[in-house]
Symmetry: C2
Subunit: 380 residues, 2 copies
């Protein structure tokens, strides 16, 4: 049973797993993705904790990709960001993992900022709004440490090559296919339909330009777009881009994190007071009273605070396990955990914002096109 490899470590993410497990499983059982196995982990000297814990739990073509890398082939990673809002911790974690991959594989990392996507799907008022978020988001991403000279950001509508490649690939994408994949209706606008080709162009650009195989780290629910792009790659005769799929971390309220529901997430911009307040309102696995909790112990499987601590704060399994037991035994209370999480995130984000600030004047070095006056865009 391959499935068993995933999500059984200390019950972490178990709730997420129970809620969404059917979907996660289907990706492997029905749609032919493969589980992350110990064999995959053995490609790395010291696998990232999110790999060890199968937070990244499934993949496509990752073995072929890593084999090429092992043979000395240069490789690329593509991970896009739709700039329609400020970034929150959920976004950052994905990019933190990609930063680790960049170091491990000495990979070129391409980060398309898809202003076109957010505009045609009506998530921003105009392209100018998306532009502002794009530069703001770029600072958050780069603050994670990405290497200059190996990290290439671009805003989609500002990149001539993307339109050229999207045109090239669009001939292989029928309206019927796009409609089914994106779930569009016939009253969808022309931009949303073409965006399927643009997204494929983002993913395949490093292969088209330089023949580098591509890996896309992505949420499990994004697989339909990966399949679409892999089909196109095959038809055009390119290396089918590899993908590595993550499960999701729940938002503070227990619902999915969403930038449009600020109470579900912590933005990188959030001030200490806001962070404390949001975390104080978070869904936990606590009992009705302190007395009851001391006697019965908490239920960390249900607790978002525990989920966040084990994903964003603790850096090793031992720590997670200890904390899990302390909660289960009634040794610690919800207030303790909330304070721990808040203090840790406040400290981390203070440091993050310092790094962000120091990058403003260097930002243009990471972009493949001219970005104008950054200060004027961000602080008009």
């Amino acid at each position: 049973m391959r499935w068993r490899h995933w999500g059984i470590h200390f019950g972490v993410h178990e709730v997420t797993a129970l809620e969404k497990k059917a979907d996660y499983e289907r990706l492997i059982r029905e749609f032919g993705a493969e589980p992350i196995t110990d064999e995959i982990l053995s490609y790395f000297k010291d696998p990232h904790i999110l790999l060890r814990r199968r937070f990244f739990y499934a993949h496509r073509s990752l073995r072929e990709y890593l084999d090429l890398h092992a043979k000395g082939h240069e490789v690329a990673i593509v991970s896009g960001r739709g700039p329609s809002n400020y970034m929150h911790l959920g976004h950052l974690m994905l990019f933190a993992f990609i930063f680790w991959l960049q170091k491990e594989l000495k990979a070129r990392v391409y980060i398309p900022l898809s202003d076109d996507e957010k505009y045609v799907f009506g998530k921003v008022k105009d392209l100018k709004e998306a532009y502002k978020y794009a530069l703001d988001n770029a600072l958050d991403i780069l603050a994670l440490g990405f290497q200059e000279g190996r990290t290439f950001l671009y805003i989609s509508t500002h990149t001539q090559k993307i339109y050229e490649y999207a045109t090239l690939l669009s001939r292989y994408l029928t309206y019927n296919t796009v409609k089914a994949t994106f779930g569009l209706s016939d009253s969808a606008n022309a931009g949303t339909i073409f965006y399927a080709a643009v997204q494929a162009a983002h993913i395949l650009m490093p292969t088209l330009e330089m023949g580098y195989p591509v890996l896309v780290p992505i949420g499990a629910d994004q697989d339909p777009y990966m399949r679409l792009t892999r089909d196109v790659a095959e038809r055009v005769g390119l290396f089918k881009p590899a993908a590595i799929y993550s499960i999701y971390v729940r938002g503070l309220t227990g619902e999915p994190m969403s930038a449009s529901r600020p109470e579900t997430c912590i933005f990188t911009k959030d001030e200490p007071e806001v962070i404390r307040k949001k975390i104080w309102m978070a869904l936990t696995g606590g009992r009705a009273s302190v007395k009851e909790q001391r006697e019965l112990g908490g239920e960390p499987e249900k607790c978002v605070v525990f989920e966040w601590l084990s994903t964003y704060v603790f850096q090793d399994e031992k720590k997670i396990e200890e904390h899990y037991r302390a909660c289960r035994s009634g040794e610690i209370l919800c207030g303790d955990c909330k304070r721990l999480l808040a203090a840790s995130l406040i400290k981390r984000l203070e440091e993050h914002r310092r790094k962000r600030k120091s990058l403003i004047d260097k930002l243009e070095r990471f972009f493949i096109h001219d970005i104008g006056d950054v200060n004027e865009v961000l602080f008009p």
Copy 2:
């Protein structure tokens, strides 16, 4: 009866008119275009013969456009070319008229070379093939005399701004609208659907970039795309682009001219022997025998050679009228007309090719983007 203004001069184009008159009329009667009137002609000191003869017979918003020009407003003309083959005389005539307009209005002329269109609609094998034709076609167009500094060519997929503007406009074009306008099926590829937005971007770029009102000289059958673009312009709050519509010159065989049926047209590349041969096979209004023709006279209304002479060769109405009468009276025979047409076109195209050649090294000055090594593309 406004309609009467059109196509009654000396019976010229009468056959074309009879064949297509219903379509031409519908543009005015049903679709709200307006006829070219003497009032429109009065905007020009010496109106072009193709205007006087109502070869350009209908328009939209031309009065508003000319009024703005008369008030000292800078204006632009946009006329695209889909680069999927070499150019023939039918194409050149449209651009010759645009060249005249450029001088009259001191207009900026934008000439998008839509490699994307030809590629997504499968008219070229790949974008590289379209690129070659684009540069070749550019030489033909510029050989007509277009002014440097006022004439701007670009290849669609090589122009970042076009993708940005197409994205901007795509939100106003639903799949349903595009499907109906272009006559697409659901198995159409994503590129063909998005091309509606790209074409609108071509037309509206001078207005979007600089606020210049735009005029599009175009074949009458292209009106659906104009209507689409005018609707979008209105919704975005831009000056609705004006259009001026031409009827068509028949091909040598009597069928429509088409680059894919070489016998119907004369390419700018055609050698004298080829030109003579094609014209010798042309459809005429001649009688069964010389004797009969001397007695009854020819039928210039049916004759493509006469149609071509009066469109491509004779520069004034008097000459056309004289020739018409000479044919009608049996004074001249089909061989005379064919030799006259062939000699005239051979001479003109020799001169044209000289101008083309002299432009190769200057070509890049007319493009708004880098075009690489022209000689390498055209003579690999």
